[in-house]
Point group: C2
Chain length 491, copies 2
């Protein structure tokens, strides 16, 4: 057995030995069943300490190269052979026929679904990304999070790596309940259910309330990712127009009278995509209408914590005397979306029924993330982080709105949000998402075409921009470039 030690090499000696023996086995020079020299004699031969050989042999046993029975000879093991991958293999099953009607439909939607991928195919994301709805990751409080993660992993032992409670990590439920009480919502930890982001919250509610012949009333336009999901859960989507002050309540009233509506889905703050925030009066009217008709409201508070111009209005849930509002929230729009942590709250029995679904669908949400987020929040890092991004966006929103006025053609108009991230832009003419994407990409800008936000997809005169994704030093340049693109579209 030929092994060469280089004492000056940065790789430790035992690792050099491991590497060379692995190679001899992988190449077949050392065949399965053959014996390695006893550690003593190999140590002598190589002029190294015997413990070095021990270490190398132990590691090779752990890796499955050597038989691991202690005390016996070191026998080379039969390595499992990796099979080849055959990319051309076809399936006997015709999946299109095998899958359900709803599954076939969502797949079709999925294939052409690119609301936030507004670059030309193959050209990579545009350098000025006003399309995707997220925070500039440069603003994530990564260091604070790391400190919390380190503390949790050092001090909580195996607990965070174990199955958690189906409902969610109890201390985090308590924290969220307290936070919601500060937003005026009367709730205890018993009525909090942690979900894999707000998206799973919408899914669970739709799974509970959907069914054959059932309908859901949504704002038009509404959150793009919700529309296919609601339909997938056997809910026919009834679009109610957004007016400048929120959902058209007269149209909603007609729909509630004429159709069998399972629930109303609404985003009262900084609505996605329009950025519209409703007044307290509008919320009262909406609630009183739904209470009269006994129709639940699903209130999506995805940016409740982005009220950086101060309190705009309390959540609908806060005035919900009859407990008809199902409220959902998330950390994904202010903190770390990759941790997939959202929540649902509402009537206790309702939460129990949603829990029954969640319990069988994926048992529990990620436990480790919940434990770390809990520490992060209760040490005050979340509030500190919110203060920071509030300060930033208070200025940025005004800056962007001013720049739009200066740079956009006069035929273009837009909403003036009272917080949050999104602005809804209206062009003088309808345009296909493809053309919009092409032209803006020429200027290095990505926007989110309006057509994805409506129940029926047609070329639209609208698009959404998100002011939070682009770093601070690029945001004005992004607006300027978008202005040029709009100029070209208008000409």
């Amino acid at each position: 057995m030929l092994i060469k030690i280089e004492r000056d090499h940065p790789t430790p000696v035992y690792q050099q030995i491991i590497g060379q023996i692995k190679k001899l086995i992988d190449q077949g020079s050392l065949e399965p069943g053959s014996r390695l020299p006893p550690s003593r004699s190999l140590a002598e031969k190589l002029g190294v300490n015997r413990s070095t050989i021990y270490l190398a042999y132990a590691e090779l046993q752990a890796l499955g190269y050597l038989q691991s029975r202690p005390g016996s000879y070191n026998i080379v093991l039969q390595r499992t052979r990796e099979v080849a991958y055959d990319p051309d293999r076809q399936s006997l099953i015709r999946w299109e026929k095998a899958c359900s009607e709803e599954a076939a439909r969502i797949y079709k939607t999925f294939l052409g679904y690119t609301p936030e991928k507004s670059a030309r195919p193959g050209s990579g994301p545009p350098p000025f990304d006003l399309a995707s709805l997220g925070l500039d990751p440069g603003l994530y409080p990564v260091d604070d999070f790391r400190r919390c993660a380190r503390h949790v992993l050092l001090n909580s032992g195996f607990e965070p790596l174990e199955y958690g409670s189906h409902k969610g990590y109890p201390p985090l439920c308590e924290y969220i309940a307290k936070r919601l009480r500060l937003h005026g919502i009367s709730v205890s930890d018993q009525e909090i259910l942690i979900t894999n982001g707000a998206q799973q919250a919408i899914d669970l509610i739709a799974r509970l309330l959907g069914g054959p012949g059932r309908k859901v009333a949504i704002e038009t336009p509404s959150y793009a990712n919700a529309i296919p999901l609601l339909r997938f859960n056997r809910l026919q989507v009834v679009g109610i127009p957004m007016k400048p002050d929120g959902l058209d309540l007269a149209a909603l009233e007609r729909a509630l009278r004429e159709e069998r509506i399972a629930f109303v889905y609404t985003m009262p703050n900084f609505q996605n995509p329009t950025g519209i925030t409703t007044s307290h009066q509008h919320r009262e009217k909406l609630l009183s209408l739904c209470t009269r008709c006994k129709v639940p409201i699903v209130e999506d508070g995805f940016e409740e914590d982005m009220k950086y111009y101060g309190q705009v209005a309390l959540p609908i849930k806060s005035i919900d005397e009859q407990n008809i509002v199902i409220y959902l929230g998330t950390f994904s729009k202010t903190l770390f979306p990759g941790l997939r942590t959202g929540w649902i709250t509402g009537d206790k029995e309702l939460i129990g029924r949603i829990l029954a679904i969640k319990r069988f669908c994926d048992l529990t949400s990620n436990n480790l993330s919940q434990v770390i987020i809990h520490r992060f929040c209760t040490l005050g890092y979340y509030d500190k982080h919110l203060k920071k991004i509030h300060r930033l966006f208070r200025q940025r929103m005004l800056l962007v709105l001013k720049a739009m006025k200066n740079c956009f053609p006069p035929s273009v108009s837009w909403t003036r949000p009272m917080g949050g991230y999104t602005i809804w832009v209206r062009m003088p003419n309808k345009i296909s998402s493809q053309r919009l994407t092409e032209i803006t990409a020429q200027f290095g800008v990505g926007v989110s075409p309006g057509e994805f936000y409506f129940p029926q997809r047609f070329p639209s005169e609208y698009f959404r921009i998100n002011i939070a994704r682009v770093p601070q030093d690029k945001i004005l340049e992004a607006v300027k470039r978008l202005g040029k693109a709009l100029g070209q579209l208008a000409s």
Copy 2:
């Protein structure tokens, strides 16, 4: 403003100042709108450095106690008031009527569902837990994991905290594909979809293939958590008996001929709950039968990595020439279940269709966990950990089987698994899960009553034990105690 500094106190001076000002504001001694003294004069008064006061004021601004406009006076802010919680509030909505048929049914199941909670109500878990299907968390490689987590959070910046790919973290998909190729499955990373544990994998497949009038053939008994989930997804459950060598293939053939079966759900290794492993021949026959009938097989490889007595047989997926097998796996049975990381693989088009559902249901799985697990695996920690638990359970399974022979009444029989964790025990008489739970709890032991593993719940002569949850030094005592409980049940 009365502030007292104690210089000998372990709390830093600036934190003492923060604490006391917070208290004054919370108590109302400092009213909203009132001005705090300029930092210079407060510093002089307290005899501290001016930067100490700066630090304290900055923190109070971050916490929302003081107005945060820089340069101006430090004005006390109106604190948001927390509303009270009213536990007696009722809902106007009758949720039982509002929810779908499937949701009503799963809720009913959920309320009486306690397959692994075999203690008497209110008495806490029994000290000898043979009920829950998990690994003794004392065996988790927590230190290795912490090192990986630390490295990821120090070196990967914000990436792991961002939204990940809908399909899963690409390097982890590659790792899993390679691992599956070592198990004989011809697959690339393109056909791997990461899920929130294997439970979500089952859910996604059922959502794809379920629908009105559709049926699924399952082993009887089968994985308890799967039965309500399949039904929730509009799949009527057709039970096919387990024989000592696996699924009764003649009965399956009849069912495939007579009923419209959407897919067959099977666990060929260490089946849950029976512990039965099928032979290569049985796998070939099952595959050939389903290929002939063009019915997909869902192969649940939840304990593929628990073959501690060596290779038992390759996965059905490894001989699946026609690509009809959907294979699923998980880290939850060998590693950290709290990280909820499982996967699905199969035909490329099939994976695309499942991805479409996953993409709208919860966008993506937890990204951070995937990045850390990837590092953990590729550094060899996973293989090292497997070697360790293999060594342990190779001995433990034999030990437990021998102890059962010595301690159990002769009227009781059980399976002899070739790996994995679970043993299926048969008593001479049927018994209600409640009575079984009560008697075993008297001896401090928890077992999982058999009735939860059948499509119809009746008192059963079976129960499942898991040998992996109880620490090494308690396992023989657990078996002994269980023997005594069985003696009492038999008398």
